[in-house]
Subunit: 206 residues, 2 copies
DNA sequence: TTTGTGACTATATTACCATATGGTCACTCG
DNA sequence: CGAGTGACCATATGGTAATATAGTCACAAA
């Protein structure tokens, strides 16, 4: 499910469903991934799809808007991976473990296999782009769903208010969710999600 | 208790206990705090204490060595604040709460009241200066002491290995200990330490 | 020996300007 | 009317020459 933006400074312009819009996105992903966001000029994108630079601006309000689209894709893919991993098991405690583990894995994969796109995600986090905010919201909601389910199955305690619980656990995960913080969490990246899952699950015990 | 360095690339030189060494440290703290580490030249320090630049290098092996000294001071002061706060109460669970709360408060205080020194601490963290490593080690040891005590008083569970416990809780606190990560933790800085303390304490319940 | 320095080098930083780039708009073409 | 663009502007960026700075050393004075 793609996250469509319609917020404060409108990112998209012109026809929403248009072949050229998709071409731009494809070319942008390719260029950003290969040369990086900074080294790619809007003219480069235009040239590669055979139009003029001005035409790009019929579809996107700025270069950053294109970057946000690509970034939203990347983060969306991570989100999908996480949802898939979570969906593979039934017990809420195990879901939580999977969620934590897969978030770290998927983020590290982006970092090591597509550094240039990772850098976009990092600067998106620095500058608080919509893509980042939505991604973090979605992850938090996924977490809340798991907690809610665990409460109903009796796996998790029910005294603590659900949103406090969600917030606290989200804060524990944040250093591995946010690309900026991830960079400072590479020490013990192997054990960290396991140890932290254990800690969180102990605190969730009924 | 000051932390003295004698490590890989020796930081100090010449007479350890010397009046001029102290003068340098005092002048450096003043200058770094007012103009920042980058904008302060070694010649500035020399001039302000009435010696030549070359003489500075009789006491410190580099400008960074001076920076490390100042940074170690700042972090040492935070550490002292935390130890004091922890020492004011008796119950290990309350000690943990205090520790978390005071670390956040003291770090935020440095950030808002002495931004320039905070920036040194941040770059010390980026470049993994000794001062940072020692500080983080000390904090971790303080944490372990509290946990150890709590186990003996029966306030905390005893099944989980002590060092796993320490590591996990340390990882929870790290976003508020490490100056680099702190910058990205300002949202919810009020509730975060409380909620996280609650979570940790729930997980520590026997 | 201990205290102290000016003169020196290699590297880092700054200041500058030419160029490149993001972004707009009036306009053409079919 | 809608698809598409060249010419244009203000600002960002990159490269480079000039300057400033970290750090050393041989040496002097006490």
């Amino acid at each position: 499910m793609m996250s469509e933006e319609n917020n404060s400074p409108a990112l998209n312009r012109g026809p929403v469903d248009h072949d050229v819009r998709d071409q731009i996105v494809v070319a942008a992903r390719e260029h950003f991934s290969r040369y990086g966001y900074g080294k790619t000029t809007v003219s480069d994108l235009a040239k590669s799809i055979g139009f003029s630079k001005a035409y790009i601006y019929k579809f996107f309000s700025s270069k950053q808007a294109i970057g946000e689209g690509i970034c939203a894709n990347c983060l969306g893919e991570i989100e999908e991976d996480v949802r898939r991993a979570v969906g593979e098991v039934d017990q809420p405690p195990e879901k939580l473990r999977r969620m934590f583990k897969e978030i770290v894995q998927a983020s590290c994969r982006l970092f090591s296999e597509d550094r240039k796109l990772y850098e976009i995600a990092a600067s998106a986090a620095t500058e608080r782009w919509q893509a980042t905010i939505i991604y973090e919201q979605n992850i938090k909601m996924l977490l809340q769903d798991i907690l809610h389910e665990g409460r109903q199955t009796g796996d998790f305690e029910r005294k603590t208010p659900l949103d406090e619980m969600t917030m606290a656990i989200y804060l524990v995960m944040r250093p591995y969710i946010n690309p900026l913080m991830l960079q400072h969490s590479f020490d013990n990246i192997e054990e960290a999600p396991i140890q932290l899952s254990n800690l969180v699950l102990r605190s969730l015990a009924p």
